[in-house]
């Protein structure tokens, strides 16, 4: 009965969306805003990667909100797992085998370096703060596999999170006083397209996001591991 009802609901949704999709021309260039971004994105923001120029330039406010969502989730997860939980003490775990341990120690700095590369070059190549931050966090995941006793220092990860967010908001607020008087306007010199030091505030913001996202996701993993062992 329940399954039948669910199927009926799904069928209604499917038919409705299918009918609307017939109206959307697919594979044709009908976009208004997107076309403008492609035409003038390089000149407006100085980033070679147009997706980056949209994410951190035209729609940077969305990205500020997105960073906040992740922050909320990390803080909320900490709050949910902390209140009234049975002792936060970690059970003694069997140490990892030597192969795993050595491999993790070898890979950890390389992965960190790769993550940093991804978010530093966000305005030139595919990738950016979020992807780079996730890669950095996966390096910390490796630490939990290989070196099971190690913990992140909570103070440091918290401070990184805060500073990343503050840099973002602070740069935006500076825009209100700097030339243009707009929140998050790109007031730094834009340089030459396709150079590392170009695109004004975009690389700075992406580096801040990279650190922040990395610290947050590592903190999420840390919170869950602390509880689960």
């Amino acid at each position: 009965m329940r399954i039948f009802l669910s199927l009926v609901v799904l069928a209604v949704i499917a038919v409705g969306i299918g009918k609307t999709l017939m109206e959307i021309p697919f594979g044709e260039d009908t976009t208004n805003v997107g076309g403008y971004y492609i035409q003038s994105g390089r000149d407006d923001t100085g980033a070679a990667n147009i997706v980056t120029s949209v994410v951190v330039g035209y729609r940077a406010f969305d990205t500020l909100g997105e960073v906040t969502v992740l922050f909320v989730a990390a803080v909320g997860l900490g709050a949910v797992l902390a209140v009234g939980s049975a002792s936060g003490r970690r059970r003694d775990v069997e140490p990892a085998s030597l192969v795993l341990y050595t491999g993790c120690r070898f890979l950890f700095p390389l992965i960190l370096l790769f993550g940093a590369y991804i978010f530093i070059h966000g305005h030139l190549t595919p990738g950016g703060g979020f992807q780079g931050g996730a890669i950095v966090a996966s390096a910390f995941l490796l630490v939990y596999l290989g070196c099971r006793g190690r913990r992140i220092r909570h103070g440091w990860s918290k401070a990184t999170e805060s500073l990343g967010g503050l840099v973002f908001v602070g740069l935006g607020l500076l825009g209100l006083t700097a030339a243009g008087h707009f929140f998050l306007s790109n007031y730094l010199p834009k340089g030459t397209v396709n150079h590392l030091f170009s695109a004004g505030i975009i690389p700075i913001i992406y580096v801040a996001i990279g650190f922040k996202v990395g610290a947050e996701l590592a903190g999420v993993i840390d919170d869950l591991v602390e509880e689960s062992e």
Partner: protein, 119 residues
């Protein structure tokens, strides 16, 4: 030909959305429901990207000189999906944290048995 290809993407996206909703509606295990949410998210993201797809296009990156800007795919849906993926992982992490706490308190993840609250 490109019409058929784009059709395949839509079928994939809506397949995922419908399967995700089905998991959420039918299953009673909380972890299973959260898996359903993640599948639903992936489907919605795939759908959004398909909207901006240009059959003969290139990625919207001026990685070298001389790329025709007219043939680039729409960058806006990609920016939106980037945001949506991060929001999705935020919700999932919180949901899993709640699931862990719920299991500590109730000893089960079956939503039929978790009924402290009456109407």
């Amino acid at each position: 030909m490109s019409f058929l290809e784009s059709y395949a993407y839509y079928v994939g996206a809506f397949g995922l959305i419908l399967i995700g909703l089905l998991v959420i509606l039918v299953k009673r295990n909380l972890i299973k429901i959260i898996i359903g949410l993640s599948i639903l998210d992936t489907g919605v993201n795939l759908f959004l990207i398909s909207v901006g797809y240009l059959a003969s296009g290139t990625a919207p990156i001026f990685s070298r000189e001389g790329i025709d800007s007219g043939s680039m795919v729409d960058p806006v849906p990609q920016a939106l999906v980037l945001t949506a993926i991060v929001i999705g992982v935020a919700v999932l992490a919180l949901a899993l944290g709640l699931a862990v706490r719920l299991y500590q308190n109730y000893g089960t993840l079956d939503m039929r048995k978790i009924k402290e609250l009456k109407w």
